[in-house]
């Protein structure tokens, strides 16, 4: 079993490494000190299991998991018992509370082995529902192979739908994320983002003015001069918000 250890504390990684020595079938293929390294390591190493801390700089454990979207089984290792329910929701293999004895890790590894051999595919498609019923997103994470981009939502200009992807435009740059427009719209603050068109989700703070287009249609003009079409129902939604 190929394992990646993710914890920002060297000593916490040390305990795991030490305990894993007793398991001949386990190979530690990478040790990561933060979420960015974790996404990179998983992309490059394709491990079977992630031993993942929750509280880490930049990206927390759940964000790492969201970016990896069900590619890999995970055992959470944390000092906080408050995340247990969320861990259950994202189908974590186990949830270890620091400090823990070697036997407890052995138990968790057994479960992971079982899940691997039963060939049950790691949990998939939970990225969307794990965010449901929570406060609106304050940043969007985009995985670009091994790299991760973090875009604070207030920096987004607008989002354009492209089939199963969304293109997130921010300050002249655009990032492609595998997510449907409908899913993303649900996660964003509805008082800040308006679906002005089937294909466009606008950050209202960027709207400079609304101009009249051809045939009674409307056009949104953004602060940087970009023009986006507004549909009839989009216009109604925009009017309601403004």
């Amino acid at each position: 079993m190929r394992v990646v250890i993710v914890d920002d504390e060297p000593l916490a990684r040390g305990v795991l490494r030490e305990f894993l020595l007793g398991h001949g079938d386990v190979e530690v293929v990478a040790e990561c000190a933060n979420g960015f390294e974790a996404v990179k390591a998983v992309t490059e190493q394709r491990p079977d299991l992630l031993l993942l801390d929750v509280q880490m700089p930049k990206l927390d454990g759940f964000e790492v998991l969201e970016l990896l979207d069900g590619e890999i089984d995970v055992i959470f290792v944390t000092a906080y018992d408050t995340y247990a329910i969320r861990a259950f929701e994202v189908h974590a293999v186990d949830y270890l509370l620091k400090p823990f004895p070697a036997e407890r890790l052995a138990e968790a590894l057994d479960r992971a082995r079982q899940r691997l051999t039963s060939k049950a595919k790691p949990a998939q498609g939970f990225a969307a529902d794990m965010r449901a019923e929570r406060a609106p997103l304050d940043r969007i994470l985009i995985r670009d192979r091994g790299d991760v981009h973090v875009v604070p939502v207030q920096k987004i200009d607008y989002v354009e739908s492209q089939d199963d992807y969304v293109s997130i435009r921010t300050g002249g740059k655009s990032y492609l994320k595998e997510q449907t427009m409908g899913d993303l719209e649900l996660l964003l603050d509805p008082s800040a983002f308006v679906r002005i068109h089937r294909r466009y989700l606008l950050n209202v703070a960027r709207l400079s003015k609304i101009a009249l287009g051809a045939k009674d249609s409307h056009v949104a003009i953004l602060a940087d001069g970009t023009e986006l079409p507004i549909s009839r129902s989009g216009y109604a939604r925009l009017r309601e918000l403004l």
């Binding site: 920002d8 504390e9 060297p10 000593l11 916490a12 040390g14 305990v15 030490e18 000190a33 933060n34 960015f36 509280q55 700089p57 930049k58 000092a79 906080y80 509370l97 620091k98 400090p99 304050d138 940043r139 973090v150 604070p152």
Partner: protein, 349 residues
Amino acid sequence: MHPILIERRRLGLYLLGWLPVVTLLTLGLGRGASPVSAIAVFVPLGFVYAFIGLSAWYVCRIAPIDHGLPLRTVGAHLVATVLASAMWIVTGDIWVSALDAMMPALNAGALFASRRLPLFVIGALLFWLAAALHYLLIAFEGSRAAERRALELSVLARDAELRALRAQLDPHFLFNSLNSISALTVADPAAARRMCVLLADFLRDTLRLGASARIPLAEELRLADRFLEIERVRLGSRLHVARETDPRADTCLVPPLLLQPLVENAVVHGIDQLVDGGTIRIAAARNGSALTIALENPCDPDRPRRSGNGLGLDLLRQRVVTQFGADGDVRIDEQPERFRVEVRIPCAS
């Protein structure tokens, strides 16, 4: 001591209040006599009675009216009234004989002799008025004292409550430290033992200091040092500490665990969130009787805006306000890449 005599300002106001009484007295009793004589006789006597009237306070004190008007109280006031008026008449006699000796032309003695009886009656009435006003004054002072006591009590209670809140250490600090010890037990047993001792010292100090009302700043700083030393075991090279503390500030007495939540915040919301860590700066300076403690930590510029360190800062602000009022101040300077808190309080030693 009579409350009106404590302050010169109060006495001045009181005498000013007597001015109309003295004027009426002079106009009323001086009618038919020469104005100069009337003024010479009655104005000084009027002001003399202002002081005789103050004695009503002592009568009011020994004969309180909390439980109605018992016969004893009425009796005490009757006796006092007769005595006060009599004293006034005697003083007047002495004064007019002095005037007659100095300025016989004023004919002061004759004027006074013809006004003795009305003066006695007026004296009695004024004394009753003075007694009534003094009862009012006593009631007012009493309610003010009660208010002050209630306020002092609520400040004490609030501070005890805040201290109790503060003494509730973040349990995750303990769990993480224990996990570090668990790691060190095999990797570096000597370091594991050192960590146990550090942790025990820190916990003991937190309990001990939290129970006192005031501690020297040096003790608070030592507690911060211990905490940071423990966190350095966990965070390794990510945590650096720079301390610039004025030795003159060491003896300043401060509320216990004032700094501790700030230090914890600096680690949890600052260093913990940075991939490469950074330096926590602690500074303390004393300027005469003013103590300034500042704490600065780097932070992640991309941090979510809803940072969770509001509660600790609110508690700090409340403590500083309840204990030092306008003499204390908490300033927060939040920049994208650093967070700074400055606490200014008076230095008592």
